[in-house]
């Protein structure tokens, strides 16, 4: 089984400033990692994913994340945020076995971007 800890429940940030959202995971097997974004009153949308290869993954809307196997982390970053990035962000993990069909989610990080 896997578990995810998102280390910050709320992150206030000013427009055009950088932001980092921290995610640590626990698993006894190799994993796939995901970041989802949820805008107010909407469903979840995939931002980016790490499946294999380069540990630096680029996603939509200028976001990127780095997989660090030794620290079991998958932190999300954006160098310059916009007001429209105000949303809730979820880190998720799944085992690599093809029979492992369940995602485990973190509790979420609410990002509020202020002008």
């Amino acid at each position: 089984a896997q578990s995810v800890t998102q280390l910050d429940s709320q992150v206030p940030v000013f427009e055009e400033a950088p932001v980092e959202l921290r995610c640590n995971y626990s698993s006894s097997v190799s994993v796939y990692l995901f970041w989802y974004v949820q805008y107010p009153n909407q469903g979840l949308q995939l931002l980016l994913k790490y499946l294999s290869g380069s540990t630096l993954v680029k996603g939509i809307n200028g976001f990127e994340a780095e997989f660090n196997k030794s620290q079991t982390s998958f932190h999300l970053r954006k160098p310059s945020v916009h007001i429209s990035d105000t949303a809730e962000y979820f880190c998720a993990v799944r085992g690599r076995n093809s029979n492992d069909y369940k995602l485990s989610f973190g509790a979420g990080t609410t990002v509020t971007v202020r002008a």
């Binding site: 995810v4 998102q6 429940s9 796939y32 995901f34 989802y36 909407q42 469903g43 979840l44 949308q45 995939l46 994913k49 979820f90 799944r94 093809s98 069909y101 369940k102 995602l103 989610f105 973190g106 509790a107 979420g108």
Partner: protein
Amino acid sequence: DAGITQSPRHKVTETGTPVTLRCHQTENHRYMYWYRQDPGHGLRLIHYSYGVKDTDKGEVSDGYSVSRSKTEDFLLTLESATSSQTSVYFCAIRDRQYEQYFGPGTRLTVT
């Protein structure tokens, strides 16, 4: 958006009544999931299905049942709704690349 719709989108019901939420997909995906979202808990898996008539429990399945008689429809039933089941419910599908795509959600209030 993976062709996922959920109905109803909003529902208010009384404690003790049965409630059924519907998830419909148009792309013939084998795997479908029901999650609930609550503040401070992220998304928690209620039930999932890996084919017609094939379902299994997730981590918070007590008080819920599911049915899948057709590939495109996955129903979630609250047998006797309680206030603790007030939540936002999301349906999801898993595509062939093992990515999950989510529906727009159903906001359920149990009074």
